[in-house]
């Protein structure tokens, strides 16, 4: 374990600079004000857009008739809370001896406390020909789904395409949610996944098989175990070529094969990085005045007894709260339980916990369109994945959060309704 090196009391009138104004950074800024922070708070982000929710990008933003972002907070709320937003600006260096950061326009800002909420960027694999996927005007026709600008560009590409043929490289959540939106928009969708199953890194074959069948039923051409080796071009048409010789035509390509963590600044500042920027229970890095929150961090989960890195809204929100508590000298919060959601077609998938390391899996099917998958390690409930079944999700959340025992017999018996009383005990 890392040493707990944070000083016991922080003065509330210090200057804080937060690099990264997405879910984690923005929540932290507002939490700090709520908790009584008096000093200046500056939020910096290279994205010029007023900070927005990212999860709707692959869903609502893509599907709605107008192209609008979903702002995290109103512009006025920043002013009202005396928060300085510096958008469209990039931090180029941290001088941790002098407590100064440098921005791309050459300006310098001093800080008493610095928070890295730098997140991740979409990883664009070096597939030959991918970067030459352009339309006749020379605009890129290959996209990631990470920013509002990405979603806008994808929508434009779809509207401008002749056959609405889209190939998605990567069968992860981003790829699958986008596939679902493209289908709703009448596109002809192909998904190509390298592994033998979609979502193989994050879920069991039960959920993977269910989602595979769902996408096939909706008309998506879903191919697994295929490695994309080249993109060929003929005017406005592109051909996605796989190692087995199969190929798929595309008007444009969406790449969803994972992320690269934005840890360059942390690395330049010689902070400890292992998988992500390593932080302690209050999100402090190896430097006492520098904290890190969100997707770019790794922390030791007391619930799962291992170091984890999460890319989620929950983690961003909980880590932001944790830093605000610490800097305003409040008691630490209870260990956070990870949760996630995904909306695809008419299905709502809700996940609580992490399934990694399970030795028993119980599937409870309440109806053909409503089921839940429960992951155990002996008697400890690790994770619940619920499909159109918020009841199961909520009970799973309560069990994991309060460390309650799950009655497996009740769980397996679909004639017994799931309630807290019937299912959970101390």
């Amino acid at each position: 374990m890392m040493q707990n090196i944070h000083s016991p009391t922080h003065s509330l009138d210090l200057n804080i600079v937060i690099i990264g104004a997405s879910h984690a950074g923005v929540n932290l800024a507002f939490n700090l004000r709520q908790q009584g922070w008096l000093g200046s708070i500056t939020l910096i982000d290279s994205d010029p857009e007023l900070p927005y929710h990212r999860p709707p990008l692959s869903k609502k933003t893509l599907q709605a008739s107008d192209t609008l972002s979903t702002p995290l907070k109103a512009e006025k709320a920043y002013t009202d809370n005396n928060l300085v937003l510096r958008l469209g600006q990039t931090v180029t260096a941290i001088d941790k001896q002098a407590n100064v950061i440098t921005l791309d326009d050459g300006s310098r800002l001093t800080f008493d406390k610095l928070v890295l909420a730098t997140g991740c960027s979409a990883f664009i694999p070096p597939i030959p020909g991918l970067s030459d996927t352009l339309d006749e005007a020379g605009n890129p026709q290959y996209f990631a789904m990470r920013t509002f600008a990405d979603a806008k560009a994808i929508k434009a590409a779809l509207n401008n395409s002749t056959n609405k043929q889209v190939v998605i490289i990567g069968g992860g959540y981003i790829g699958l949610e986008s596939a679902s939106s493209f289908v709703a928009l009448g596109a002809d969708v192909t998904v190509i996944e390298k592994q033998d199953k979609i979502l193989s890194r994050v879920t069991s074959s039960v959920m993977s098989d269910f989602l595979t069948q769902l996408h096939l039923d909706k008309g998506v051409a879903l191919h697994t175990g295929k490695d994309v080796v080249e993109i060929q071009h003929q005017g406005n048409k592109h051909l996605v070529v796989c190692s087995d010789g199969t190929h798929y035509p595309a008007d444009f390509i969406l790449v969803g094969v994972g992320v690269r963590l934005n840890t360059q600044l942390a690395s330049d500042a010689l902070l400890t990085i292992e998988q992500g920027i390593k932080v302690n229970d209050v999100c402090q890095t190896s430097h006492p005045d520098i904290f890190a929150i969100g997707d770019c961090t790794t922390y030791f989960s007391k619930i799962y007894q291992r170091w984890i890195r999460l890319e989620s809204v929950q983690n961003a929100v909980d880590q932001a709260k944790s830093v605000a508590q610490c800097l305003t000298n409040k008691a630490p919060l209870a260990p956070a339980v990870p949760w996630f959601w995904s909306d695809q077609y008419e299905y709502k998938l809700q996940i609580v916990g992490l399934s990694h390391g399970y030795d028993e899996l119980i599937v409870r099917e309440d109806s053909p369109t409503q089921f839940s998958v429960w992951y155990f390690n002996a008697e400890q409930l690790l994770c619940v994945e619920a499909v159109n079944n918020s009841k199961a999700y909520v009970l799973g959340m309560q069990a994991i959060k309060q460390n309650l025992q799950v009655n497996k017999q009740v769980l397996k018996d679909t004639t017994t309704a799931l309630t807290k009383t019937s299912l959970l005990s101390e």
């Binding site: 709520q34 929710h53 907070k73 006025k76 009202d80 809204v313 929100v317 709502k348 918020s390 959340m397």
Partner: protein
């Protein structure tokens, strides 16, 4: 156009005005304290919990199954609880007061 009031725990009564979108989006756009809407309005996080006045509850309507289940994540749930991301802003809300639960 509907004018509604949110009774917040930290900032007292906040009057806001809107004509479309969800009540959560309207609250968030006006920085109403206690309405976080962490999931962006898809009934996945239960951070936009409000109490509807008993007299208005019939007009607003009861939560559906998913919403009722999600409300159970909050210890302060009552028979007048709703997640306001699931309530559309429309004229018939005009004049209503909602109490922010958290």
């Amino acid at each position: 156009m509907a004018k509604v009031i949110f009774m917040t725990k930290t900032n007292g009564a906040v009057e806001v005005e809107g004509s479309s979108g969800s009540l959560m989006e309207l609250a968030a756009a006006n920085g109403v304290a206690g309405i976080d809407g962490d999931c962006g309005g898809v009934c996945s996080c239960a951070t936009c919990h409000i109490y509807v006045a008993p007299d208005d509850f019939e007009k607003i309507g009861a939560p559906d199954e998913i919403e009722s289940d999600m409300l159970e994540l909050d210890d302060n749930v009552t028979e007048y609880s709703r997640l306001c991301c699931q309530i559309e802003v429309a004229e018939d809300l005009d004049g209503m007061t909602f109490v922010v639960a958290n």
